[in-house]
Symmetry: D2
C-alpha cells in the first residue's frame, strides 16, 4: 500500500483542514484500517479551539469504523477486508497500568508504566481517524470485528461516547432500583442515560436545557426530564425523591455548576460519577460534602477501550438493547469536514453527532 | 437505678464542664452503661470551640467503655455486669439507609430514611459518653462484649479512631502490594497507617510534622516517614515511586493543603480516601485531577459502628495484630476533664489520646 | 384486636388445612397485618410433602400483602390502615450476621449470631402469611409501604420470587454485554431472566421444557429460549456462543442435572449463580470444573428481605421496568386453599402463581 | 546465540530426564532468558506420573528466575543482562479473556478468546523453565525485573506458589477481622496462610498432618495450627469459633475430604476459596451446603501472572512483609534434577521446595 491519502489535520488554533499525507506504513503489531465512517467528538472541538494542545499537523479523530487494509505480521485471527472498529482509547494492554486494571492510563514501556490518559492515542499522540487510513497500534488487542448485519452508523458510537457514557453508569455502581440523575444530555450524557437504564435504575432523571435532547433522553430511558431553564433542578430533584436525594448522579458536561448541583442532589453515601472534561479548578462546597463525613464517592472515568469492550458494546447494539443510530443527525464527506466542524462546534441545527464518510 | 451522676456538658462556646444530671431512664430497646473509661476526640474539641453546634447542656463524648448496668426488656443475649463497648456511631440498623449499606447515614424513622451523619448520636443528638452513665439506643445492635482479658485502654480506640482509621484503609481498597501514603499522623492517621499495613500494602509512607507521631507511625507499620517541615512531600513521594505516584492515599487531617497534596501524589486511577473533617470548601486543582479524565476516585468515610464492627476490631486487638494502647499518653479523672480538654485541644506534651476514668 | 381467624396450617405430611386460630397478640417491636393477598411457593409444597420439616399446626406461607391492623409501641413512621408488604425473609437486622451483610442467615440473639436460613421466619419458625392475620417481627425493619396506585397482584411477587430471582442475577455479577443462561423458567427462573435483562445482559438464553414458560421468558427478556425436550442444551449453547460458553449461568430448579449442565455451558472464569433448593448431594464433574483451575465461581443466594429491598423491588414495578402481574394465573379464596395447593403442587393447567385472597 | 543447552524433558510416564536441545530462537515479541534458578512444582510431579498429559519431549517447569539473554525487537524498556522473573502463567494480555479480567484463561487468538488454563504455557504447551534457557512469549507483558538486592531464592516463589497462595486469600475476599481456616500447609497452603495474614484476618487456623509444616505455618502467620492426625478438625474449628464457623476457608490440597471439611467449617454466607488441583469429581454434601440456601460462595483460582503481579509480589518480599526463603529446603544442580524429582515427589526429608541451579 503506497500513495497518498486525505486527512483532517490540526494546523493551528482555529484551523483543522484537509491535507494530503502519505498512506502510513505499519509495524509488525499494527493494522492499517481503511476508514469508512468516523465522527467528530467534543474533544476534537477543544483541540480545534486550541484548548487542548496537540502537535501541529496531527490527524485528528478517535472514532474509527473501517475495513482492514493490511495486518502486521504478528497480528493473528483477523483477515484483510474484515469490517472492524477500534476504541477511542487503544491501550497496549502490556503495561503495568493495563495489568493493574487501568488501561486508559496506559504508560506504555515507561519504567513506571502509567501516564494520565495514556491509552488515548488516536488524534492525540498519533495520527487519528479523520482520514482515509488509520494505523491501529497493538492491533491484536484493539481490533474488534463488526458483527454481521450492523451498519457503520449503528456502531459509530461504540469507540467513544457509548463506551464513555456507559462507563459513567458503571462507575456509579448503579444497582437495581436505584434513582439516578444525569446532568447534561449531549451525546455522552445521552449514552449515560441509556447506560443507567441498562443497569437497572428504576428512576432516571435527565437534565438539560435543549428540548430535543430532553426528548431523546426520554426515548433512551429517562423517566423524567428536567429543563434547567424552567425549574430549579436541585429543589425539583429533592422534591421528586422526597428529600432523600438520588443514589447516583452522573455529570456529563464538565462545569463547576453541574458538578456542584450533582453533589447537592446526591443522597448521603451516594456516588457522583463524573464524565465531563473540566476546564477550571473545581470547588467542592463544604455543606454539600457534609464536611467530608457523608460517605460520598466521586469517581471519574475515561472511556474504556480494547476489543473486548468494543465487542460487548456492539453486542448491546446487536441485541437491540439500545439504539444509538438516531444520534447521527448530520452526514458529511471527509472533504467537507471543515463545514462539519463548523456545524458541530456551534451546535447548530439540533446536531448531536455527525457521520463523516469517504 | 435512680440518683444523680456527673457528666461533661457543653455549656457554651469555649466551655465544657462537669455538671450533675439525673441518671437517665432507659427504654425497652436501650441499655444503660456504667462508663469505666472514655476519651476525648478531635470532634469534641470542635464542639468545645463552637465550630460544630450541639444543644446547650448536652453531654459530650462518643467513645464508651463500660459495664452493663441495666438492660431494656427487649435486649437479649447480654447480662448486667458484662463489660462492653459501643461504637461512636450507633445506628438503628432498621432504617432504609442502614439496610442500604449506609448505617452511618442512618435516617431513623424518617420517611426517606437518610440523614447525613445520622448514625452519630452520642454527644451529638443524644447525651454522650463523658459521664458516669450512658444510654445506648438500639442496644441489641450496638452493645459489643469485650473479650476476656482485654483492658479498657486496649479497646478504648475501637469505638471511633480505630474504626475510622481502618475505614480509611478499607475505602482506599488497598490491595496486596499497594503503595500507600497517609497524610497526618494524629490518632486517626496513625490508625489509618495501621489499617493500611493490615490490608497488605507493601510500602506505606506516613507524613506529619511531629517527630513523636512519625516515630509512632513507623512503629505501627509505616515503612517511610516524611516530615513536611523538612522535605517537599510531593516531590519526595514522586521520587520514591519513580514518578508513578501511590496506589492509594489517605487524608487524615481535613485541610485544603493535605487534600490537594494527597491528590498530587496519587497515580492515575488511584483512590484518595478522605477521613478529615473539613472546615472550608475544598478545591480540586484541574491539573492534579487530569481535567476529570484520570480515573480518579475520591471517597469519604464516616466511622463505621455497630456491634459486629466492634467485635471485629477487638478481635484484631486480641490477636495482637495491632497494639493501640500506647496511644493513651495521658490519664485523667472525669472530675478533671476540663484540664484534659485543655491539654488535648492544645496538643501539649506530646498528647495523642487521653483516657478518662471515673 | 381479639377473636379468631382462619389460617392454613401444616397438619401432617400431605395435609395443609384451614384451621381456626386466635388472632395473635403483638409485641412492642411487632406489627399485626391483615392479609389481603398472599400466594403459595414451591417451598410450601416441600412442606406439604413432608420434605421440609416444620412444627405441626404452624401456619404456612411467606409472601404477605396486607394492611397494618396494629403497630407495636416501638414501631414508628407507619400508621394503621397503611398498605404494606414484608419480605419472605424478615431478618432482625440487629444480629452479627445481619451487620456482616448476611441478613438471610440471621442468627438472632444467639451468641454467635448466625443461623443457616435464619432470616426465614414466616411459615418456617413462626406462623406465616396464609391466614387472615400475620405478625411481622422487627416490624420497623420489615414493613414496606406499597406505593400508591399499585395493586396487590402487582406487588405479590416482591416478597419472595422477584427478590430471589433478581438475587440470582445480582450474585451472578452480570455486566453490560454479558451472555447469560437461565436454567428452568418456573416463577423464580422467570424472575431471574427478568433480572438478567435489568442488569444489562445482551444475550439471555432461557431453558425449560414447557412452552408457556419459554414464551413468558421471552416476554420477560430472554432473547433465545431452548426446550430441553427438543435440543441438546449444552451443545446448543456452545454453538450459540461460538464455543466460548456463557459469562454467567443461573440455576433455578435445584437438580443435579441442571446444576451440572449449568457448569458445562459456563466460560472459564464464569459464575454459576444457584437459586435452586437441592434435595440430594451435588456432584461437580472434574472436567466441567477444569480440575479446580478454571477460575469458576459457584454462588448460592437466599431471597434478600427487609424493607429497603422491598422498596426497591416495588419501585421497579412502579416504573414499569418489569411486569410480573401476568404470573398470577389462578385465584382462590383462603377457604379454598387446599384446592389451590392441589393445583399448584401438580402444576396443572399452566399454573405459575396462585393469588390467595380473603 | 546458538548452540545446545540442557533441559529437563518429559520422556514418558515416570521419566523426566535431562536432554540436550538447541538453544531456541526467539520471535519479535519474545525474550530469551538464561535461567539462574528454578524449582519443581507439584504440578510437575503430576506430569511426571502421567496424570497430566503433555507432549513427549517437552521441557518441564514454570517457575523461572534468570537473566535476559536476548530481547525480541518489539520488546522495549528492558536490557540484556537484566535480572528478571516471569509468572508461571504468562498470558498474552491481548485476548478477549485477558481484557475480560481472566488472563489465566487466555484463549490467545482463538475466535472466542478463552481457553481453560490457557495462560499456563511454560512446561505445558511450550518448553518450560527447567533448562538453561527459556523463551518468554509476550515478553513485554511478562518480564518482571527483580528489585536490586533480592536473591534468586528470595523471589523464587513469586512465579507460582506465592501468586497462587495469595490468590487464594484474595478470592476468599478476606476482610479485617475475619477468621480463616487453611486446609493443607504444603507450599501453596503456606503461602495462602501468609496471604490471609497479609489481608488482615485476625484469626488464622492452619490444618495439616506434618509437624514441620504446622510449625512453619505458625511462623508465616497462623494463630492456631491443627493436626488432623490428632484432633477432629471440624468439631475443633466449630469449638474455636463458638459454633459460628469461619468467615473464609482456603482449600490447598485438592481432595474430596479437604473440600468437604472446608465446607463444613464455613459460616453461612462464607467463602470457600479453592486452590487444589482435583483428580476426581467432587461431591457437595446437601447438609453442608444448606440445600443451596446458605449464601455460600465456592471460588477457584488459577495462579495470576503478568509483570504487574510479579512486581507486586516482589515488593512484598522486598518490604519484608513475608519471607519465603526458608521454603527452600533443598538445592540441586539441573544435572541432578532426576534426584530432585525423586526427593520432591516422595516428600522425603521434610522437603518443601527445591532450588534448581545451573
Amino acid at each position: 500500500m503506497t500513495g497518498m491519502m486525505k486527512a483532517a489535520a490540526f494546523i493551528e488554533k482555529g484551523r483543522i483542514e484537509i491535507v494530503e499525507k502519505p498512506i502510513p506504513d505499519i509495524g509488525d503489531n499494527d493494522a492499517l484500517i481503511r476508514i469508512t465512517t468516523t465522527t467528530i467528538c467534543g474533544t476534537d472541538v477543544h483541540i480545534l479551539k486550541g484548548e487542548y494542545p496537540v502537535e501541529q499537523g496531527l490527524t485528528i479523530g478517535h472514532e474509527p469504523v473501517g475495513i482492514i487494509e493490511k495486518l502486521g505480521k504478528n497480528v493473528q485471527g483477523y483477515k484483510e477486508g474484515q469490517r472492524v472498529i477500534a476504541g477511542a482509547i487503544c491501550p497496549s494492554f502490556h503495561s503495568y497500568a493495563c495489568q493493574d486494571g487501568l488501561p486508559a492510563q496506559d504508560g506504555g514501556c515507561h519504567s513506571h508504566g502509567y501516564k494520565p490518559m495514556g491509552g488515548w492515542r488516536f488524534g492525540n499522540t498519533i495520527d487519528g481517524a479523520q482520514a482515509e487510513f488509520l494505523v491501529v497500534p497493538d492491533a491484536q488487542a484493539n481490533l474488534a470485528p463488526v458483527p454481521y448485519g450492523l451498519t457503520d452508523e449503528q456502531v459509530l458510537m461504540c469507540p467513544d461516547i457509548m463506551s464513555t457514557g456507559f462507563a459513567g453508569a458503571e462507575s456509579a455502581n448503579i444497582k437495581i432500583g436505584d434513582i439516578v440523575a444525569v446532568f447534561a444530555q449531549g451525546p455522552i450524557g445521552l449514552c449515560a442515560t441509556a447506560g443507567a437504564r441498562l443497569k437497572g435504575a428504576s428512576l432516571i432523571i435527565a437534565i438539560d436545557g435543549i428540548d430535543e435532547r430532553l426528548s431523546y433522553a426520554r426515548q433512551l430511558g429517562a423517566d423524567i426530564s428536567l429543563d434547567y431553564r424552567k425549574v430549579d433542578i436541585i429543589s425539583e430533584i429533592m422534591k421528586i425523591t422526597g428529600g432523600r436525594g438520588v443514589d447516583a448522579v452522573i455529570e456529563a458536561l464538565g462545569t463547576q455548576q453541574t458538578f456542584e448541583s450533582a453533589l447537592r442532589v446526591l443522597k448521603p453515601g451516594g456516588t457522583l460519577s463524573s464524565l465531563g472534561v473540566y476546564s477550571t479548578d473545581l470547588t467542592i462546597p463544604l455543606d454539600a460534602f457534609s464536611a467530608g463525613l457523608g460517605d460520598h464517592k466521586i469517581i471519574t472515568s475515561l472511556c474504556p477501550g480494547g476489543k473486548e469492550r468494543m465487542r460487548r458494546l456492539m453486542s448491546v447494539i446487536e441485541s437491540n438493547r439500545v439504539n444509538l443510530e438516531d444520534m447521527v443527525t448530520h452526514r458529511y464527506k471527509l472533504d467537507d469536514i471543515v463545514d462539519a466542524y463548523d456545524l458541530f462546534s456551534h451546535q447548530r441545527d439540533g446536531v448531536l453527532k455527525v457521520a463523516i464518510t469517504m
